[in-house]
C-alpha cells in the first residue's frame, strides 16, 4: 500500500535547492581556487629545481676526454642531515652515471627515457616523496690545460668512453628535492579550505533560511489573515503592509474573491431569511387558526372562517413551493426547449390579457407600440412565462391610473423589447435586489398574491433562453425592463439537458 506523500513545503524545497546550488558552486570555486594554488606552488618548486638544474648543468664541462662537474656544497654529504636535502645525478644518454651528489650516497635517482625536459614525482632514496626535474644538455667544452683531479673536492670527473662522439655529447641531469614541505603546505591549505567551506556552508544555510523565512513571511501573514476570517465576518479583507509585487496580486485576487463570497453569502442569507419569513407567517396563521378553532369548535361561523383561511394559506404555500421548484428546475437546466419564430406583438397582447383583471382594478392603461410583424426566435412557452411575469410585475407595482408602456423593435444586433411602468417608491439602490428571490420593496409582505419571485423567474428563464434581461429606473420613477433577443443566439447561461 502506497503511503501518502507528505505535503510539499516551499520553504524546505527552496532551502534545499538554493543550498544545494550554492554548495556546488562553493565546492567548484574552492576546488578551482585550491587547484590553482596547488599548481602555482608546484610550478614554483619545479622552477626552483630547473634553476638548480641550470646551475648544475653550467657546472658540467667537457675537458678533453673527461667530464668535470662542480657540485655545490648543498649537495655534499653533510647536507644529508638537513631537513630538506637536495639530490642530483648526471647521466650519459645511455644511462651511465657521470656523477652524483654526495647526498645520494650509494643510491641513484630515477630518470626518464626519451624525455629531454620533464618534472615528475617519485620516491627519493631516503624514502620521502620527492619532486624531480630532468634536463638534457650539451656540456660546455673547456680546452684550457689545468690540473684537474684533487684540486677541488666538490669537483667530480668522469672519463668519457672513447666510443662517444664528444662533439655531440648530451648529458642527462636529474635534480630532486623532497616535496614534503610543499605537501604539508598543500594539506594545510586543503584543511583551511575545507574549514572555510564548512563555515561558509553553515553561514549560507542560515542566511538562505533566514532570507526564505523573511521572504515567505507575507505568505504566512496572508494565511493567518485568511484563517482568521470567521464565517460571520466575511466583510474582513486582507491587508498586507507593503506587500511584494507577487503577493500584492494574490492579496488583490483573494480580496476580490472575498467580495464575491460575501455577496453570495449575503444573497444566500437574505434568501434564507426571506424564505423563513415567507414561511413563518403562513405557518403562524395556520397554527393560530387551528389552535383557536380547536378550542372553540362550537362556533360555526368562526370554524368556517378558519377552514377558509387554512385553504387560502395552503394555496399560497403551494404556489411558493411550486414556483421555487420551477426555479430550481430552470437552474438545473431540466427544461426541454423548442425554438420557433414567435410574433412578439401577439404574445405581449396575450400576456396583457392575462393581467387585465388586475390592470382594470387599478385603472391602468396599456400603451403597446410594438411594430407589427416583429418576430423573435425563442421557445414560445418559456418566453410567455417571462413576459407574463414582467407584465404581472408591472401591473402589481404601477400606481393606479398610470400607463404601462410596451415598445421595442429591431436593432443591428437583434430585437429589443421594453416594458415600462410607474414605480413611485422604487429607489436606484433597489435595482440591485429586484431579481433576488422573495425581495419586495415593502418589508411587510402584506400582499400575499405576490411572493417576490416573478422577476427572479424571468431572469432565470432569460438566462436559459440566451436572452439579456436588464432593468433600470428612468426619469420620473419609471421602471424599465428590457429584453434583448440577439440575432446570433448566445449560448444559454445554464446547460440544457
Amino acid at each position: 500500500m502506497k503511503s501518502a506523500r507528505p505535503p510539499r513545503s516551499i520553504r524546505r524545497q527552496l532551502t534545499i535547492q538554493i543550498l544545494a546550488g550554492a554548495l556546488v558552486m562553493l565546492l567548484v570555486a574552492g576546488a578551482i581556487f585550491l587547484g590553482v594554488i596547488h599548481r602555482q606552488l608546484l610550478g614554483d618548486l619545479d622552477r626552483m629545481l630547473e634553476a638548480e638544474a641550470d646551475t648544475l648543468a653550467r657546472n658540467a664541462e667537457r675537458k678533453g676526454g673527461l667530464i668535470v662537474w662542480d657540485v655545490p656544497d648543498t649537495y655534499s654529504a653533510g647536507a644529508r642531515q638537513n631537513a630538506d636535502p637536495a639530490y642530483c645525478q648526471l647521466f650519459l644518454e645511455d644511462g651511465a652515471v657521470v656523477g652524483l651528489s654526495q647526498t645520494l650516497g650509494t643510491d641513484d635517482l630515477p630518470r626518464l627515457e626519451k624525455r629531454p625536459h620533464a618534472a615528475w614525482n617519485a620516491r627519493l632514496p631516503d624514502g620521502r616523496h620527492g619532486r624531480l626535474v630532468q634536463k638534457i644538455f650539451h656540456p660546455a667544452a673547456d680546452d684550457t690545460e689545468q690540473q684537474i683531479a684533487g684540486e677541488d673536492p666538490r669537483e667530480q670527473t668522469f672519463a668519457l668512453p672513447a666510443t662517444i662522439d664528444q662533439a655531440s655529447l648530451q648529458l642527462v641531469l636529474v635534480v630532486a628535492r623532497s616535496r614534503e614541505p610543499l605537501d604539508a603546505l598543500l594539506d594545510s591549505l586543503y584543511l583551511a579550505g575545507g574549514a572555510v567551506a564548512v563555515a561558509l556552508s553553515c553561514a549560507l544555510a542560515w542566511l538562505v533560511r533566514r532570507a526564505i523565512t523573511r521572504g515567505l513571511r507575507p505568505i504566512e501573514e496572508i494565511n493567518a489573515q485568511i484563517a482568521a476570517i470567521a464565517p460571520d465576518a466575511l466583510g474582513t479583507r486582507l491587508h498586507i503592509p507593503a506587500p511584494p509585487i507577487e503577493l500584492a496580486a494574490i492579496e488583490s485576487t483573494v480580496n476580490r474573491l472575498l467580495d464575491r463570497v460575501e455577496a453570495a453569502f449575503e444573497k444566500e442569507r437574505r434568501f434564507s431569511s426571506d424564505l423563513a419569513h415567507e414561511l413563518r407567517t403562513p405557518i403562524a396563521e395556520l397554527r393560530a387558526a387551528c389552535e383557536i378553532g380547536a378550542r372553540w369548535p362550537d362556533d360555526p361561523e368562526s370554524t368556517r372562517q378558519f377552514f377558509e383561511d387554512t385553504r387560502t394559506i395552503a394555496l399560497q404555500l403551494e404556489k411558493i413551493v411550486a414556483t421555487l421548484f420551477a426555479l430550481s428546475r430552470f437552474e438545473e437546466g431540466k427544461l426541454p426547449l423548442k425554438t420557433q419564430r414567435i410574433p412578439l406583438q401577439a404574445l405581449v397582447r396575450e400576456c396583457w390579457q392575462h393581467a387585465a383583471g388586475g390592470a382594470e382594478e387599478k385603472r391602468l392603461r396599456f400603451d403597446e407600440g410594438l411594430p407589427p410583424g416583429l418576430t423573435v426566435e425563442s421557445d414560445a412557452d418559456q418566453l410567455e412565462i417571462v413576459l407574463r411575469n414582467l407584465v404581472d410585475n408591472a401591473v402589481a407595482h404601477s400606481a393606479p391610473g398610470t400607463v404601462v408602456e410596451c415598445g421595442g423593435g429591431a436593432t443591428p444586433d437583434g430585437v429589443e423589447l421594453r416594458l415600462v411602468n410607474s414605480a413611485h417608491d422604487l429607489e436606484h439602490a433597489d435595482l440591485a435586489h429586484v431579481f433576488d428571490r422573495f425581495w419586495r420593496k415593502e418589508a411587510s409582505r402584506t400582499d400575499r398574491r405576490h411572493a417576490g419571485l416573478g422577476l427572479s423567474i424571468a431572469r432565470t428563464l432569460c438566462e436559459v433562453l440566451g436572452l439579456d434581461l436588464r432593468v433600470e429606473l428612468s426619469e420620473g420613477r419609471r421602471f424599465e425592463a428590457r429584453i434583448f433577443f440577439p440575432t446570433v443566439r448566445r449560448e444559454p447561461a445554464l446547460s440544457i439537458s
Partner: protein, 221 residues
Amino acid sequence: MKLLIIEDSQSLLRSLGTGLRKMGYAVDLVADGAEGLNFARHNDYDVIVLDLMLPSMDGLTVLQRLRALGKQTHILILSAKDQVEDRIRGLRFGADDYMVKPFSFDELCARIQTLVRRRYGEKNPAIALGGLELNTAARVLSRDGQHLGLTPAEYRLFERLALSRGCVLSKEQLIDALHDSDSCPGPNVIEVLICTLRKKLGDDGGESLIKTRRGYGYCIE
C-alpha cells in the same frame, strides 16, 4: 381588559381577534402601522400586540413614536423576525415582551396576561376577594372551588374592577375597557352587567362586593 392587535396578516388578525375575544378580552384589530399608531394614541389599552413588518409604518417606528409620546402601554412584539438582534432591538426600543412567529396561542395569552398583571401591579394570578377567588390565568371566578359561570363580558367587568380595587371606575371607563372601539354598547349595558354579576355573586339581599358610588361609578374595595 382591552387589547390592540396590529398585524398585517388578515388571517392571523381574524384568528387572534376571535380567540382573544373568546378569552374575555376586548380586542381592536388593525392591519396597518400608521392606523395602529393612531388607535394606540387615542385609546387606553392594557396590552398592544405589535407586528414589526407592517405596511405604511413599520412596527419599530410605531413603538418609538408611542414611547416618545409618553405612552406607557405594555407592548408585546409578535414578529417573524427571529434573530437575537431583532429581539434585542425591539426590547431596547421599549417593548415589554417579544414573541416569534409561529407561536402557541396559549403562550401568547399567558404573556398577555402577565403584562396585564404587571400593569395592575399583581404578581399572583389568583386574587382573593372575601370568599371569592379570581384566577386571571384561568380566567374564572370561583367560591369555595365552585366556578360562578361568568360570561366573558361579566368576567371582563369583574376582572377590571378587581384589578383596580380601591379605585372608582366610571361607566365610560368600564365601557372603554370592556368593548372594542368599533362596537356601540347601549347606555345601560354596565348597569345590566353589574346587576347580573351581583346576582351570581349572591349579593342580592346583603352588602354587595361591588359598590356603587352615585355619580362616580363602581368599585370593589
